[in-house]
């Protein structure tokens, strides 16, 4: 059977269904969540309690709470009781403030074996809520591939078998959008969540959340990328989720004070219109605006994070990507996003793989993808990056993990740890485009060495040691993963605060908790351990809040109001913090202030830490990081920045002229590792945790999350 709209429509076979009356939204909440058990074909509503709203707020908070109830300390990612929970949060779906359409996804990860969360654009989360559901819980495993369809217009949820014989996520999204829409105009009312064959064949599968772009007349996709959520999705035999909602207005959340939201929204729309072109240029370049800056400031990961810049970096500069992206077109992944950073390359002709010769719309590349699939592999060809980006998305594999993992493989190859025989003939030297693209296809299709690569770094390290006698210490130093998650694409080795930003992050080294490099390394604004600890308290808590609400981080500080730089706490962008307080109060009718905003996050953040603890992680030993993230592992790496490092050693009382580079690497390492230990001490103290990284009972009590099952977990570790 070929993939066509007609075949999809006629092959639909309903396995289970539930009719319902969509709950009206009140102050940002529907008050109901949707539970689906795929093993039993059970679909049922649950009530969202007032306590849930008060303690967990929504979004990621709801996801963590439902997952906590679903699993036991023994549950593994591929056990039926593991859940994927998707939730938008109370602010999610407002149209007046940029970046307000995010879905938060929570599950047990196949790569970390602990809690994973991901923040993703596209229309699914808001449409899910407006269809009557504050959250969607997916538990159990289906026997056959299934599609879950939520029709918010008619009030019906169906679990269906549909013939979708493709492993290409972009086709699944397109075909389901076509099949479920009644007309071209109707397509914007559909959002699809799907993944591709890479999620069947690797542990780093992602989920694509779609939105319809009426100008391009194309289905676009945003990614819940980190930690293998797509792999869990396919393990449950989910092929896709489809939601339909056609009643969008600017007031679906039934906000208490529309004027307050409108005022904050118009203010920031004007800021973006007036200043974006001279600040971050998000509307022209998206997050790829960082490419030139990162290369200039020695922060762009080059060749597995060994180096921070490269002379060929100019070939993949911001300007190059601007020239590739279609300009002057609305590119918001949710309605009303004036930041409009979801750039796309139109009519891109693919040169390799199953879609060779076809012209496609490629979403991005965003900064992370350009660095991950380019400079970190020693590749400086923008068209290669765009093609790799397309295939990662349609195979359904995380660009960041793919990038960091491939960089690790390349360094292993260059060091003779693996060879051509092991890789099936692929010469995986840095810069080898052909070999890198072939390995990407092998991962996506489950062939050859791709099956090993798809295990991701932590398991590959074990495999290389066991099978090929690799030196485990060296692999630990250069394998850029912590907690089992691959690092995202910033060089942290010259910023102690950012080492903590990555290493202390709850889910693993992703930059969404803290990005402190400029504050720390470039502007020297947080010189003491206490300063760094304060930053590593405030910013992770503040950024956690976006995930509770259904918000995007970018409009917070990728645009700044006039005069912000002159303010004492410019890094916090105080006016925008007030905007967030206002829109939360405007939607919910509550009366929080900026301090309560942080407390909302602290409750969820500490709960997540305890949840990690419950699953056998979440302590000091789990916050350790590979030395590549802290300093120069090799002589060559040291010598690439000899002047800087020699200067630092002089400040520490050493005489670099009288030392060999090996000796300098050793003492530098000793110093930096000590600094990281001291940083952990300071941060744990600031967060109200023990010196082993466990939240203290008084901390939990002060936050009101000292319920018996939480205390039970923690007290065993105090």
């Amino acid at each position: 059977m070929t993939l066509s709209v007609e075949n999809v429509r006629t092959s639909r076979k309903v396995l289970a269904e539930m009719e319902y009356t969509p709950a009206g939204i009140d102050k940002g909440y529907s008050g109901k969540s949707l539970y689906v058990n795929l093993s039993e074909g059970k679909i049922e509503p649950k009530t969202v309690t007032r306590e849930m709203k008060d303690i967990f707020t929504g979004g990621k908070g709801f996801g963590l709470w439902y997952l906590w109830q679903a699993v036991t300390p023994k549950t593994k990612w591929n056990d039926p009781e593991n859940e994927i929970v998707i939730s938008a949060g109370p602010i999610g779906g407002i149209t007046q403030y940029p970046g307000s359409g995010k879905s938060l996804v929570v599950t047990l990860s196949p790569t970390t074996n602990s809690i994973m969360d991901s923040n993703v654009g596209g229309y699914f989360g808001p449409y899910l809520k407006f269809s009557g559901w504050d959250a969607l819980e997916l538990q159990g495993k289906s026997a056959k591939d299934v599609v879950l369809y939520i029709d918010g217009d008619t009030g019906k949820v169906t679990l269906e078998e549909i013939e979708l014989e493709t492993g290409a996520s972009h086709l699944v999204s397109e075909i389901l959008t076509e099949a479920f829409a009644e007309s071209e105009e109707d397509k914007k009312h559909i959002s699809v969540v799907s993944t591709g064959s890479g999620a069947d064949n690797t542990l780093i599968g992602l989920l694509n959340f779609s939105w319809y772009d009426p100008r391009r007349k194309a289905v676009r996709m945003k990614q819940a990328g980190r930690g293998g959520i797509g792999t869990v999705f396919r393990d449950k035999k989910l092929k896709a989720l489809v939601v339909r909602f056609s009643g969008l207005t600017g007031k679906n959340n039934n906000p208490v004070d529309f004027g307050k939201i409108q005022k904050a929204g118009v203010k920031i729309h004007k800021e973006i219109n007036n200043f974006d072109d001279v600040q971050c240029r998000m509307r022209q370049a998206g997050t790829a605006n960082l490419m030139t800056t990162m290369n200039d400031y020695d922060l762009l990961p080059v060749m597995n994070f060994q180096y921070g810049s490269h002379p060929e970096g100019k070939k993949i500069s911001t300007e190059v990507f601007i020239s590739k992206f279609t300009q002057n077109i609305y590119d918001g992944c949710w309605y009303g996003c004036s930041m409009s950073c979801c750039k796309a390359v139109d009519d891109f002709e693919l040169k390799t793989g199953p879609f060779k010769g076809e012209k496609v719309v490629v979403d991005g590349p965003e900064y992370e993808n350009a660095a991950a699939l380019g400079s970190n592999w020693g590749i400086f060809d923008p068209d290669f990056i765009i093609e790799a980006n397309f295939y990662c998305d349609t195979y359904g594999i995380d660009t960041i993990s793919t990038g960091t993992m491939m960089a690790f493989i390349m360094e292993c190859y260059e060091n003779g740890i693996i060879d051509k025989e092991i890789t099936g003939g692929l010469e995986l030297n840095f810069g080898n485009q052909e070999a890198a693209m072939e390995l990407l296809h092998q991962m996506g299709q489950g062939r050859g060495f791709g099956k090993i690569a798809g295990l991701a770094i932590r398991r590959m390290k074990e495999f290389f040691v066991k099978e090929y006698g690799a030196d485990p210490d060296f692999l630990q130093d250069i394998g850029m993963e912590a907690k089992g998650l691959e690092y995202s694409e910033y060089l942290s080795k010259e910023s102690l605060a950012q080492q903590g930003g990555f290493g202390l992050a709850n889910k693993g080294p992703q930059h969404d908790e803290a990005w402190l490099i400029f504050m720390d390394m470039v502007n020297n604004q947080i010189p003491t351990f206490e300063d760094k600890a304060e930053a590593l308290h405030y910013f992770p808590m503040f950024r956690t809040w976006f995930g509770l609400q259904g918000l995007c981080k970018l409009p917070w500080n990728d645009i700044e109001p006039e005069g912000n730089k002159q303010l004492e706490e410019a890094n916090k962008v105080p006016e925008h913090v007030q905007n967030y307080v206002d829109i939360f109060n405007g939607v919910t009718g509550k009366n929080i202030d900026k301090e309560e905003l942080i407390r909302q996050s602290e409750r969820v953040y500490n709960f997540q830490r305890v949840f990690n603890l419950r699953m056998g992680f979440g302590k000091r030993e789990h916050d350790k990081v590979p030395y590549r993230s802290q300093g120069p592992v090799t002589v060559k790496e040291y010598e690439s920045r000899a002047e800087r490092y020699d200067g630092q050693l002089k400040e520490l009382g050493y005489d670099p002229e009288s030392m060999s580079t090996e000796e300098k690497v050793k003492v530098m390492r000793q110093h930096r590792e000590e600094m990281y230990e001291k940083l952990m001490d300071a941060v744990y103290l600031r967060r109200g945790w023990t010196n082993d990284g466990v939240p203290k009972l008084e901390t939990l009590k002060a936050l009101g999350i000292d319920f018996p099952e939480v205390v039970e977990v923690v007290k065993n570790h105090l």
Binding site: K188, P214, R215, K251, Q262, G265, H269, Y335, S338
Partner: protein, 131 residues
């Protein structure tokens, strides 16, 4: 296309244009709801007349294609399509896309010419402009 032209030095701040506009479009005499806004300013000539010049920058900012040019060239908002994001307000280079807390949708001058017909001093008038 014909747009509303202005000669601010002739304006006597009588507010006739604003009353006519708000009465026609909002059925109330409320100058704050007018699609043409006249105000006294310190700089010469002492008056600012804010009215859409139909440049169309707002069209590109609309996520749902609710803004478009009519056959006449005038930029119009389809309120049935509008989802109240107010992106267009932010995108307007002359601040001539207006909004109010008690209105779900933004609003702008559509060059209907009602105000120009009643202006006692010809401070506003219809004039030809190129697209």
């Amino acid at each position: 296309m014909k747009i509303v032209g202005k000669n601010e030095s002739e304006c006597i701040l009588c507010g006739t244009c604003e009353s006519i506009c708000s009465e026609h479009y909002f059925k109330e005499d409320n100058r704050e709801k007018s699609r043409i806004q006249v105000s006294e300013i310190d700089e010469d000539p002492g008056v600012d007349i804010n009215v859409c010049n139909q440049c169309g920058d707002c069209i590109d900012a609309c996520p749902v294609l609710a803004l478009s040019r009519a056959k006449s060239g005038i930029v119009i908002l389809n309120r049935k399509k509008c989802i109240s994001c107010f992106n267009c307000v932010g995108a307007c280079p002359t601040d001539s896309m207006f909004f109010r807390e008690d209105e779900d949708n933004p609003y702008k001058c559509i060059a209907c010419a009602r105000c120009t017909k009643e202006c006692p001093t010809e401070a506003i008038f219809m004039e030809e402009a190129e697209l």
